[in-house]
Amino acid sequence: MIHIITCENRHLYGPQLWAMHEERRKQCVEKNGWVDLVVLDGGEVDDYDDARAIYLLGFDDDMQLEVGLRLRPTDDRCMLADKFAHLIAPGELPKKGADVWEASRLFTTEAYRAKKGPGRGARVFEAWAAAMELALVNNISRFVGMIDMALYPGIMNSPIDTRLVGLPRPYEYGVVAGSEILLSRELLHRVRESIAIESTIGYHVDEQDLRAFGDLAAVQRQVLRAMTPQILPGSERDETLSAEALFRLHDASGKARRIWSDRGQKPEFQLNA
């Protein structure tokens, strides 16, 4: 499961978002050496961490951060188009627009990278799959971003077709290029297949979930159980709560949430009244 964190549920994720900014400092400033980034109280923050930013975070069972990705609409501002326009080749489609989101600050934590065994390496694609699910629902057709060319062989070998949008250029710490991912249902299906997952991966936790299940770890447990296919032997599953979580997971109309929030109130009509 990947947690989708928007301005609507950000208040539920205080410590987790702090951990994300701290991890970004470790990755970007300390590991990559991008010393010109702004560090506030030990966490890396930039202009694009505003109310419109959407964070996709993955946690282990104890809610320790494992993977993170930031998305942001580009109809107002775009890092690639505004600050790194020299990375865009002449004749390319505009990199800002109502149907374009910018993806940035992708990271995995050191603790996650040190893990061995099944599932290793899949978390990054879970984050991308969740990003694609969310984007497709919002009629987004492209992700744009920037990549360090040292990582490009890995990207070319991934199931996600990522194209360069211009010539790579040198920067202080290596070589960087603008990039673009064209979104489609087929691409999402391919990414899900590559990590052996069939269901929805992203989930937007709200206060109703916390009231229902207690805390974020409990919500995550429920959602994961709901996502676990029954055919797998030995998988833990709480049928009643899983059914409810599964229903809420696919509750595109918001009906299940309304029923839940209106519970205990007088019904609109009664038989034999």
Binding site: A89, G119, G121, M156, N157, L167, P168, I195, L232
Partner: protein, 244 residues
Amino acid sequence: MLNSAEQQAWDFLSKAPHYGAPSEVEDHFGRALAAFGYDRFAATLVNAERYGKEPPALSRQDFDAWDSRYWGERYVVHDPCVKLLLKSSKSFAWSDAKPLGDQRAHAMWGEASEFGMNDGYVVRVFGPAGHEVLIRMSTAANTPDIDPADRAVVESLATVFGTIMLKHWELQDDNPDYGVISERQAQCLYWASRGKTDWEIGAILELSPRTVHHHIEAAKKRLGVVKRQEAVMKAGELGLLKAS
């Protein structure tokens, strides 16, 4: 606006993932590289012996004579480029390595000059399954102060080239005309049937995840199905799944 060399490079970088045959990739890479003055290149899978195979040249253009001399004279012992390779995974120009060399290395550079190789560039590409490709490029021109922007482009060209040639090398092991599905396709489907992800299958079979994906997609086409699970079931019904 891009200058003509940059335009050539952009053509290669934007189209390279869609080229079909390795010869087509080589051809376009050679042209893009030549626009920056590099007329010879070689891509070698340097750690292939760990897979029980000779270190194969994935691609080469006019590098044979110099390689023969290099190994004949055992220059590898004195070559300062080897020191740099052992020290860091970063790309470097011959001009970066030259100050680190001894007298024999000095003689080696002199001989390289006689072969029409006055400067060069070395790029390393690391495949996800642990493969390492070394791309060497050389030029007859003496260009100690290559423009950093050009250097970044040359490095990127080599990175993309090495990655694609490695993928072709991984695929060539497979015989697509063997049976209903190929041996590699059967292996990938077997591990997919055990619930493994592309990354995990790649780790088991020492392939990149993208190559695993390629094999499974090819198997789906051959079995006439749309979904991976359908391919697994059909291959299972036909008794085609095999671990190794």
